[in-house]
């Protein structure tokens, strides 16, 4: 039986963030939070592996107060139970702090065979926490994986790099970061959503992890965040007659000198 822990992050939905074109500040007032897209692939893969090989899936997140809202969504995706380290330190945590907290929480959860993470977080896309966690836990860490299997208690993982794929093998326990192409995350059914409310959630307090103060001090701190605005012309041709729109576009492209 496989004991799988999936780490996920509760992030602002970047598709809803608007950039003020003059001041270049970010308007997040209309942005909702979501489970980081890449982590949905990790959750899905854990559940598929548990279905195939038999096992138990636990979801784990470290987030601020609001991250509690993520638990139902996470659990409706198939894990049996969830753990949350809820602390506003998460708002300023860098990957160093986050990995320290998650590693301590994983040790607290106890036995595991496999840890899954997404390839990166949808907000920072720093791609650090997975490999950092593997190093902290002293287990093999395999990144950028698009296929996972098991053979006689050994992990088989295919990594996709820029110019090749690598078929790798490693003993368990191990950590894998998965690429989005590994699966299509499910859209939870109403039954799964309702069932999620009954699944156990354990809150782990940061203090109870007894991390050294130094391990909670971010090495990387945000100084400024500026929206990236592109100056584009925004000339849109529409209407019922595509031929007319095409003629106008061709005339414009001619004037721009690109055709």
């Amino acid at each position: 039986m496989l004991n799988i822990i999936v780490c996920y992050k509760w992030v602002l939905d970047e598709q809803d963030i608007k950039v003020n074109p003059e001041r270049l500040d970010l308007d997040t007032s209309r942005a909702k939070y979501k489970i980081s897209d890449y982590d949905k692939n990790a959750l899905e893969e854990a559940v598929l592996l548990a279905e195939k090989y038999g096992g138990k899936v636990s979801a784990l997140t470290f987030g601020p107060e609001g991250a509690k809202q993520s638990l139902k969504d996470a659990l409706s995706r198939g894990p049996e139970r969830a753990f949350i380290v809820k602390d506003n330190l998460a708002l300023t945590a860098d990957a160093f702090v986050t990995a320290n907290v998650l590693a301590a929480a994983i040790r607290r959860i106890g036995e595991y065979d496999l840890i899954l993470c997404g390839e990166g977080a949808a907000d920072t896309y720093a791609q650090q926490v997975g490999p950092r966690l593997a190093a902290l836990l002293g287990i093999p860490g395999i990144t950028f994986v698009n296929s996972i299997g098991l053979d006689s208690g050994q992990l088989l993982a295919t990594r996709k790099l820029k110019s090749c794929t690598q078929e790798t093998a490693a003993p368990l326990p191990a950590l894998v970061t998965v690429l989005p192409e590994i699966n299509q995350p499910r859209i939870p059914s109403l039954k799964q959503v309702l069932g999620a409310a009954k699944k156990p959630v354990t809150e782990i307090s940061l203090a109870s992890l007894e991390l050294a103060a130094e391990d909670l001090v971010p090495r990387v701190r945000l100084k400024a965040l500026k929206g990236y605005a592109m100056n584009r012309k925004h000339i849109i041709f529409g209407g019922a007659a595509p031929a007319e729109a095409v003629a106008k576009l061709v005339a414009s492209l001619g004037k721009e000198g690109v055709i």
């Binding site: 720093a126 012309k233 529409g238 492209l253």
Partner: protein, 317 residues
């Protein structure tokens, strides 16, 4: 004053990082190139390194040297380590950072010295924002390939080459490697790109985009979903934050919604043109010109119009 280390498994990137290292090195700060099983140590000295740490081991995977590099760094105490932001470089850097309890900035687009540490810039929220961050020393930063011009080699420059025999982490074994076949031209060098999105209903329809690309003398690219979920085009053709960043004179998208991660890859296009049925598709906010319409109608008309425009003798007047 602690040294600056630079490393990439790609020696061309190591040379680029040496240029960055030299630009940040004050007088007393040596720049040291770290090479794993490399053969051209003297070339690295000529490209700007004061010293080369030539690590030797039996494992061909760079990531298997994370502990060895962390141990060396713990002993030698460099202030900064710059690592080429290849996939394997990012993996290695994160493992070394964890072992050193160091901060790591991923894929910095700018690096400068500030207040006894480093100040960096990197993209956030799928490329929608630029984050300026400060990092305490020792700091590790991964740098995208081609961010810096290598220094002209200084022939005959001398420097120390220190051979280090390293133990490797052999728990992960590579059983087979399958190298991708290169298909078509290099999209990052294309002057015109027609980009395919999820608005295409089936694989055969790609020919609509190919015909338009032919009329424009351009290449066909796609979104991440088209490459990775549909597998219609190879990964080398997908454009975006985690894929190719392109800079054509003309980028023309068909049925691309324009997620921020995709738009991050087309930022440097001179002209962005979008065709999409949904007038609220975010791609229009990033476009110079757009047509709200069905690509299946618009693209063939556009191909025809361009062919007519290009055909000799048909120009009015």
């Amino acid at each position: 004053m602690g040294a600056i280390w630079v490393y990439s498994e790609d020696i061309a990137i190591t040379r680029q990082l040496l240029a960055l290292g030299r630009s940040l090195a004050e007088k007393a700060r040596p720049v040291i190139a770290v090479a794993i099983n490399g053969s051209d140590a003297s070339g690295l000295i000529e490209s700007g390194a004061d010293k080369v740490l030539a690590i030797q081991g039996h494992n061909p995977q760079p990531e298997s040297y994370a502990d060895a590099i962390a141990d060396l760094a713990a002993k030698e105490a460099p202030d900064m380590i710059f690592v080429g932001a290849t996939l394997q470089g990012k993996d290695l850097a994160a493992k070394v950072a964890a072992r050193l309890k160091a901060g790591l900035v991923s894929e910095a687009i700018a690096v400068r010295l500030a207040d006894g540490g480093l100040e960096t810039e990197r993209l956030m929220y799928g490329g929608m924002a630029v984050a300026t961050e400060t990092v305490t020393l020792p700091a590790i930063v991964t740098i995208p390939p081609q961010a810096y011009e290598p220094l002209p080699p200084e022939a005959g420059k001398s420097g120390e080459v220190i051979a280090v025999n390293a133990a490797t982490d052999d728990r992960v074994t590579v059983k087979a490697v399958h190298t991708f076949q290169r298909e078509g031209g290099d999209i990052t060098a294309a002057d015109v790109i027609v980009c395919i999105g999820r608005g295409f209903a089936k694989r055969e329809d790609i020919k609509i985009a190919e015909e338009l690309a032919a009329a424009l003398n351009g290449e066909v690219g796609c979104t991440r979903g088209v490459a990775e979920d549909y597998h219609w085009l190879p990964d080398s053709r997908y454009i975006g934050l985690s894929g190719q960043k392109v800079k054509p004179s003309l980028y023309l998208s068909l049925g691309v919604s324009g997620q921020v991660q995709h738009v991050a890859g087309i930022r440097d296009a001179k002209l962005i043109v979008a065709v999409n049925t949904d007038e609220n598709a975010p791609i229009f906010a990033a476009a110079d010109y757009g047509i709200v319409g069905d690509l299946y109608e618009v693209a063939p008309l556009l191909t025809e119009a361009l062919q007519k425009a290009a055909a000799p003798g048909k120009i009015a007047g």
